[in-house]
C-alpha cells in the first residue's frame, strides 16, 4: 500500500485497539495506578479521608509495633506453611490413590472436589458448627465416655488457627488433587513400564521418578496455594471473626478493618503494602525461574 499519506500509526488495527481498551484501562488504572496510589498514600497519615500529609515510614513503624499485626503475620505464617505442606502432601497422595485404575474414580473425585465449589463463607460456617464444643465433635467423644476430652479449637486462642486450617484444607485440597492427578496422568506410560521391568517398587517410582517429573505441576500448585493464602479473609471472618479476642486475625482482615471500620486509612494502606511485598517475595523468583529461563532455553 503506497498511499500518499502515511496512515497514522494509532489508527492501524483500530478495532483490536478498541477491543483492548478495557484491558488497557484495567492494567494501567487498576493494577498499576491503584497499587501505586495505595503505596504512595501509605506514607501519609490519612485517617478518615486520604490526605497528602507525609509522615515518612511512621505508619510502618506503628504497624510493626502493633500486637494485632504481629499476631496476624504469625497466623498467616502458620496457616500458610501448614496449608502448603498438607495440601501438596494430601493432594498428591489422593491423586496417587485415584491413579491406581480403580473403579468409581469419578465418584471419588467428585466427592473430594465438591467443597471447592463452596464459598469460604459456607466452609467457615459449616466448620464453625462441626467444631462447636457444645454439640460437635467434642460432645460426641464425651458422650462415648471420655468425659474430660477437649477439642474446642475455635475457643482456644492457642490453637484457633489450626481450626481454620482444618476448614481451609477441607475446601482446597480437592483442587490440588485434581492438578496432581492431571500431572500424574501426563507422565508417559513407557516410564512406568520401564520402572516395572527394572523391578522398582511402586512407591519408589512415585517418589524418585514421578514427583521429579511433575516439577511444573508442583510449582503451579505452590503458586496457586501461596497466592490464595495471602488473601485468606472470608474464611476467618465466617469461622471465627478473628476471635477469640484477636487470636485468629489475618493480614487481609487487618487491612479491611483499618480501611472500612477503624477509619485509619494510612495504617490500612501500610498493611496492604506489606501484603504486596509478601506476594512479591513469592512471585518474583517464581516468575524469574519460569519465564526468564524459558527465554534463554
Amino acid at each position: 500500500m503506497s498511499a500518499s499519506v502515511r496512515p497514522v500509526q494509532l489508527f492501524r488495527n483500530l478495532n483490536a485497539k478498541i477491543a483492548a481498551i478495557p484491558m488497557i484501562l484495567t492494567a494501567l488504572v487498576i493494577f498499576v495506578g491503584c497499587s501505586f496510589w495505595t503505596i504512595f498514600y501509605s506514607f501519609t497519615n490519612s485517617k478518615l479521608l486520604p490526605k497528602l500529609k507525609f509522615v515518612g515510614i511512621d505508619q510502618y513503624e506503628r504497624l510493626w509495633a502493633s500486637n494485632r499485626w504481629l499476631i496476624s503475620i504469625e497466623n498467616l505464617a502458620i496457616y500458610g506453611f501448614c496449608t502448603l505442606v498438607f495440601s501438596l502432601l494430601i493432594g498428591f497422595l489422593l491423586a496417587a490413590l485415584l491413579d491406581q485404575k480403580i473403579r468409581f474414580e469419578n465418584t471419588f473425585r467428585s466427592i473430594l472436589l465438591y467443597p471447592f465449589a463452596l464459598s469460604f463463607i459456607v466452609t467457615g460456617l459449616v466448620w464453625q458448627w462441626v467444631l462447636n464444643p457444645q454439640f460437635g465433635i467434642q460432645k460426641i467423644v464425651r458422650d462415648l465416655g471420655f468425659e474430660s476430652f477437649t477439642f474446642d479449637p475455635l475457643y482456644n486462642p492457642d490453637i484457633v488457627i489450626y481450626g481454620v486450617l482444618i476448614a481451609g484444607l477441607w475446601q482446597g485440597t480437592g483442587l490440588i488433587m485434581c492438578l496432581m492427578l492431571a500431572g500424574i496422568r501426563g507422565i508417559d506410560q513407557e516410564i512406568w513400564k520401564a520402572a516395572r521391568i527394572d523391578g522398582i517398587k511402586t512407591w519408589k517410582t512415585y517418589v524418585f521418578i514421578v514427583i521429579p517429573m511433575m516439577r511444573p505441576i508442583f510449582i503451579t500448585s505452590l503458586v496457586i496455594i501461596a497466592s490464595q493464602i495471602v488473601r485468606v479473609y472470608d474464611l476467618v471472618v465466617a469461622q471465627t471473626g478473628g476471635g477469640p479476642g484477636i487470636a485468629s486475625e489475618v493480614p487481609a482482615k487487618y487491612v479491611y478493618d483499618f480501611l472500612f471500620l477503624n477509619q485509619n486509612l494510612g495504617q490500612g494502606f501500610a498493611a496492604s503494602t506489606m501484603m504486596l511485598v509478601t506476594v512479591a517475595i513469592v512471585i518474583v523468583p517464581w516468575a524469574y525461574l519460569e519465564f526468564g529461563r524459558r527465554k534463554h532455553g
Partner: protein, 309 residues
C-alpha cells in the same frame, strides 16, 4: 483398560512388590485393593461429613439439637428452618430472610458474568489474532496484576466508583467483578483462540471479513466449549465472592454470602442453629448444583483457571 498386566501398581505403598511373572489373576479383595478403597472411602466420608451435618441439622427442631449431637440423624423432620431461613431470618433490622440476598446475588451475578465474558472474549480474540504494538505489555501487566492482593487496590477503587456515582450500587460491583475476572478470562480465551488454526483466520481475511465479522461468524461458534467453561468459572466465583460484596454494596444490595454471614454471626438473639444451617445450604446450593451438573467441565474450568494462579 482393566488389563491386569498393564496396571502400573501391583503393590500399594506399604506392600512389597512380588515379582510379576505372566498375567497375575486379579483378586477382588487383595490387600492392595482393601488398602486403596478403604483409604478412599474413609477420606470421602470425611469430606462428606460437613455436608451431612448441614443437612441433618437444618431438618431438626431446636429442642432436638439441644439434647442431641450434630451427627445424629433428625428424628422428626421439619422444614420450618428452611422456610424461616429463606423468608424470615433477620439481619439487623431487616427480617425478610435470605431471599433478598439471593435475588441480589442473581442481579449481581448475571450481568457480571455476561459482561466479563463478553469483554474478555473480545479481548482474548484481539490478543490472539490482531496483535498490535504494545499489546504484550498490557497483557503481561494484566497477568502479573492477578497476583496483586485485592487489599492493595480496594480503596482506590472505592474512590473511583464514588466519583462516577456507582459506589454502593449493583453496577459498581459488576464493574469490579469484570475487572478482577479479566486476567484469568482473557488468558483463557487468548489461549483458546491461539489454538485455532491460523489458516482459517487468513481465509476469512482474504474473503474480506473484518475484525467483528471474523469474531461473530467464525471464532464465536468455534469457542462455545470455552464459553461454557468461562461461565461455570465466573458464576461460581462471583456467587461465592464475599470481599467485594461487603465493600462495594450497601445492606440493601448485599449479595447472599454477605447476608448469610450477617445472619449466622449476628450477636443478638438466641442462636438458631437449624436456621443457620438451612441458610448455609441455601447459599451453597447454586455452586453445588453447577458443580454436579457440569461435572468434567467444572474440573476443566478450575484446572485452566488454576494454571494462571
Amino acid at each position: 483398560m482393566a488389563d491386569g498386566t498393564l496396571s502400573p501398581a501391583p503393590g500399594a505403598a506399604a506392600e512389597p512388590l512380588r515379582e510379576p511373572r505372566g498375567p497375575k489373576p486379579r483378586k477382588r479383595f487383595s490387600r492392595r485393593n482393601i488398602f486403596i478403597y478403604g483409604t478412599l472411602i474413609f477420606v470421602s466420608a470425611y469430606y462428606l461429613l460437613p455436608l451431612y451435618v448441614m443437612v441433618a441439622t437444618s431438618l431438626k427442631g431446636m429442642p432436638e439439637i439441644r439434647i442431641g449431637n450434630i451427627f445424629a440423624p433428625p428424628l422428626e423432620i421439619t422444614f420450618q428452618p428452611w422456610v424461616k431461613a429463606w423468608s424470615e431470618a433477620c439481619t439487623g433490622l431487616n427480617c425478610d430472610g435470605l431471599s433478598r440476598g439471593f435475588w441480589n446475588s442473581v442481579r449481581i451475578t448475571v450481568p457480571s458474568v455476561l459482561i466479563s465474558i463478553v469483554v474478555a472474549s473480545i479481548n482474548g480474540y484481539a490478543l490472539a489474532n490482531w496483535r498490535f504494538k504494545g499489546a504484550d505489555i498490557f497483557f503481561t501487566i494484566l497477568i502479573v496484576g492477578a497476583f496483586i492482593p485485592y487489599q492493595v487496590m480496594i480503596y482506590p477503587i472505592v474512590i473511583v466508583l464514588r466519583e462516577i456515582g456507582l459506589y454502593g450500587s449493583v453496577w459498581g460491583l459488576v464493574i469490579v467483578h469484570t475487572i478482577f475476572g479479566m486476567p484469568i478470562l482473557t488468558l483463557l480465551f487468548r489461549n483458546y483462540f491461539t489454538s485455532i488454526p491460523e489458516e482459517l483466520f487468513r481465509a476469512a481475511r482474504v474473503d474480506g471479513a473484518g475484525f467483528w465479522g471474523i469474531y461473530f461468524k467464525i471464532m464465536l461458534p468455534m469457542a462455545l466449549p470455552i464459553f461454557v467453561v468461562a461461565i461455570i468459572l465466573q458464576v461460581t466465583g462471583i456467587w461465592n465472592d464475599f470481599l467485594f460484596g461487603v465493600i462495594y454494596t450497601k445492606p440493601d444490595t448485599y449479595p447472599m454470602t454477605v447476608q448469610l454471614n450477617n445472619i449466622v454471626n449476628s450477636v443478638q438473639g438466641v442462636k438458631e442453629y437449624n436456621v443457620n444451617m438451612a441458610a448455609t445450604i441455601l447459599t451453597g446450593l447454586v455452586p453445588l448444583v453447577i458443580y454436579f451438573v457440569s461435572g468434567k467441565l467444572f474440573v476443566r474450568g478450575i484446572a485452566e483457571g488454576a494454571v494462571k494462579g
